[in-house]
């Protein structure tokens, strides 16, 4: 059985290799002065929805930048994206290596999934290629790497914001929360964000009555929900990708648990969440790195092209690509080393950076975008809207079915 798994992987890798050779050949046929930027995303496997959304964001941004005249500092050079599929952390290093060695890439963006990004960043760091990412596990920017840049805040910051914003909204609605539950998937992303949630709860003096990690591929969440019910928590903070998120919400409804659920981004704010839950998605709150209503013109373009609302991963990857382009403009070169130096001193508050809460892309010594902050979104009909903090909110939050004053 285990051999079978290995063989399956090998066959898969083989197919992917073929597919990659194809993309590489197409790229070479393009004009010589194009600036090649690598995009690594999980385009297959359990996190494919996120990878596809991220890729679309980067594609749309590249299209719009090219249509606006390309990179001016390089005589209107066009951006050409080369894609690589990184479905799992185990395949990330090899796929990234291949992408870099077969294409003359100036920079790499992506990987969405934190554990995958960690693996890919080992390769980009050694090769001296800047990696601009949206993945936000704390380790990504805490290893002292020179070539890693992160457009969004850290995972623990997301966890803290998820907790604090929810408590603030509850307080404004006149609800005092004393007991909460934290449920999280046990890879880099969930673990980092749960750490932030836990710290914020301790600081606020709120009791965490359930603190449970679960494996990412979980198929039966009833034990988890049984524990949640027994814990007497007044609010639940699940940190999940898509399938686990859907399973959790459905199981809550089956067991008639109606406590507020405040999601931890990822699976809670993509079109598939609404598709999978229908009316039960309404009113679900989640922390997010960005939201389409912060940059309506990009959101409208995206909807026109792909038929769904722009997800935060699409938006942040558009901003990530834009940051790379601005760095190239600044460096007046497509040399990875010079782009890195330009990224390190970038201070950009226009273009797609306006979609990032805080409105700017400016990296600190660790490569973290110091000006960005997480927001809180809430499902209204077919889209999540920004409801918190007040400085970014487009609508008032709804708590327990009533609008918060």
């Amino acid at each position: 059985m285990f051999q079978a798994t290995v063989r399956r992987r090998l066959v898969l890798a083989g197919f992917m290799g073929l597919a990659m050779c194809g993309t590489a050949a197409v790229t070479r046929a393009l004009a010589a002065e194009d600036v090649v930027i690598g995009v690594i995303q999980p385009l297959s496997g359990p996190n494919a929805q996120f990878g596809i959304g991220s890729q679309r964001g980067a594609e749309l941004a590249a299209e719009m930048i090219n249509a606006a005249g390309g990179i001016k500092a390089l005589g209107g050079a066009k951006i050409s994206l080369v894609m690589a599929d990184v479905p799992t952390p185990a395949t990330a290093a090899a796929a990234t290596q291949r992408l870099i060695s077969q294409n003359n890439v100036s920079a790499v963006i992506g990987a969405f999934v934190s554990s995958t990004t960690l693996a890919a960043s080992e390769v980009t760091e050694r090769a001296g290629i800047p990696l601009v990412t949206f993945a936000f596990a704390d380790q990504i920017t805490e290893r002292g790497y020179k070539y890693v840049f992160q457009v969004s805040p850290k995972g623990t910051v997301f966890g803290e914001a998820q907790f604090n914003s929810a408590i603030e909204i509850a307080k404004a609605a006149g609800d005092k929360i004393e007991k909460v539950a934290i449920l999280y998937e046990d890879t880099a992303y969930g673990t980092a964000q749960a750490k932030g949630l836990r710290a914020a709860a301790t600081k606020a003096g709120v009791q965490v009555v359930l603190d449970e990690a679960y494996p990412l591929g979980i198929t039966d969440v009833s034990p988890l929900v049984n524990k949640l019910r027994a814990s007497g928590a007044q609010m639940a903070f699940p940190v999940s990708y898509l399938n686990d998120g859907l399973l959790i919400i459905r199981a809550l409804r089956q067991q008639q648990i109606d406590i507020p659920v405040v999601g931890g981004a990822a699976g809670y704010i993509i079109p598939d969440f609404k598709k999978g839950l229908g009316e039960y998605a309404e009113g679900v709150l989640s922390v997010a790195a960005a939201s389409g209503d912060l940059i309506p013109e990009l959101a409208a373009k995206y909807k026109e092209k792909y038929g769904t609302f722009i997800t935060h991963e699409a938006l942040i990857h558009a901003a990530a690509l834009d940051a790379v382009v601005q760095a190239i403009e600044k460096a007046k070169s497509k040399d990875p080393e010079k782009i890195r130096d330009a990224l390190a001193t970038l201070d950009y508050c226009a273009g797609f950076a306006r979609g990032v809460p805080g409105g700017c892309v400016k990296f600190d010594a660790n490569g973290l975008n110091a000006s960005a902050f997480p927001i809180m979104v809430q499902w209204r009909g077919d889209e999540p809207v920004t409801v918190y903090p007040p400085k970014a909110a487009k609508q008032k939050p709804v708590w327990a079915g009533k609008p918060v004053p």
């Binding site: 197919f15 494919a48 479905p87 603190d211 988890l224 049984n226 399938n243 008639q256 039960y280």
Partner: protein
């Protein structure tokens, strides 16, 4: 005793430490009962899924490593039936059963039949090869998306005092029970069923009494994979399907079959219940991540101490 149980019932349950590794003993009765019921509902479906694997081994003597891929196939048939015909997966499961039966029959007659008398290594290579082909064909045809159905009872549950029973789990369990009963009737009462059992016991003697063994092998294999496909279809309301879903079930399936005794149909059902209960109840004592660890410890213990399985028989 009853009074004691009542007293335990009232112990407040909220307890885990902030770090998450703590648990309280004793476990209150209602919580215990809840996870027992969850485990039984889960285990009944495991039973049907694994019965197919057991049947194939019992009759053909072939360990079908591709069995879980037929589960995937059954799930896709039910998904497409839901998406394009509007069939509830519980009804779509009948379609899954029929379609996968035909596929299984053809696979047996065209491929498996050629290695029935070959060394076990050849049989393993064939079924593992089949696994790879089916999984990758699904990846090419359906893409790697996760697909789930949306039915009204997905978010419904029944309440019995302090016990909650999720509607999709209950319906899947009922369907699994129904199919098990039908299988028993078929094997026990029908001529074809008796022929299958006869071939399992002694193919030569069966041939001498006028049983067409080649046909019977085909039917047995088709039936085996169709049972697994049916199990896949009925759990669609609470599970999402993807081309690689088989990987999540293959280990559970083999554990069930080994617990129940390889080749034993009744054993597979009992094994399924045991696996479901172990998975569910173990979460009361250990973190959910260790759910399958407990299972495998038992699995290894059974192999070491009672290699013929917990239940021996037909």
């Amino acid at each position: 005793m009853g009074r004691q149980a009542g007293a335990l019932n009232r112990i407040p349950v909220a307890a885990p430490s902030p770090a998450g590794e703590g648990f309280l003993l004793p476990i209150p009765v209602d919580i215990m009962l809840q996870s027992l019921i969850d485990g039984i509902l889960l285990g009944g479906v495991y039973g049907v899924i694994a019965t197919g694997l057991s049947l194939v081994f019992g009759v053909l003597g072939v360990v079908n490593f591709a069995q879980a891929e037929f589960l995937m196939l059954g799930m896709y048939v039910a998904w497409f039936a839901w998406r394009y015909l509007g069939l509830d997966p519980l009804l779509g499961s009948v379609l899954s059963f029929v379609v996968v039966f035909v596929v299984g029959y053809l696979v047996q007659r065209l491929l498996i039949a050629r290695v029935l008398k070959a060394p076990p290594a050849a049989q393993v290579f064939l079924t593992v090869g089949l696994l790879i082909v089916l999984e990758n064909a699904a990846l090419m045809l359906f893409g790697s998306d996760f697909r789930s159905v949306s039915v009204p009872y997905q978010v419904q549950g029944f309440r019995l005092g302090d016990i909650f029973v999720g509607a999709p789990y209950l319906y899947a369990f009922a369907a699994a029970l129904f199919l098990s009963a039908a299988l028993w009737l078929f094997l026990d009462r029908s001529w074809t069923g008796r022929a299958i059992r006869a071939v399992a016991q002694d193919p030569m003697a069966a041939t001498l009494t006028g049983v067409d063994t080649r046909l019977t092998y085909g039917v047995a294999f088709g039936l085996g994979v169709a049972l697994t496909a049916f199990g896949g279809a009925v759990i669609l309301p609470y599970i999402t399907v993807s081309p690689t879903i088989g990987g999540q079930f293959v280990v559970v399936m083999f554990t069930v079959v080994v617990l129940g005794g390889l080749g034993s149909v009744a054993g597979a059902l009992a094994g399924g219940l045991v696996v479901g209960i172990v998975q569910s109840v173990s979460t009361l004592f250990f973190p959910i991540q260790l759910q399958n660890l407990c299972l495998f410890v038992i699995f290894i213990a059974v192999l070491a101490l009672r290699p013929q399985g917990l239940i021996k028989g037909a």
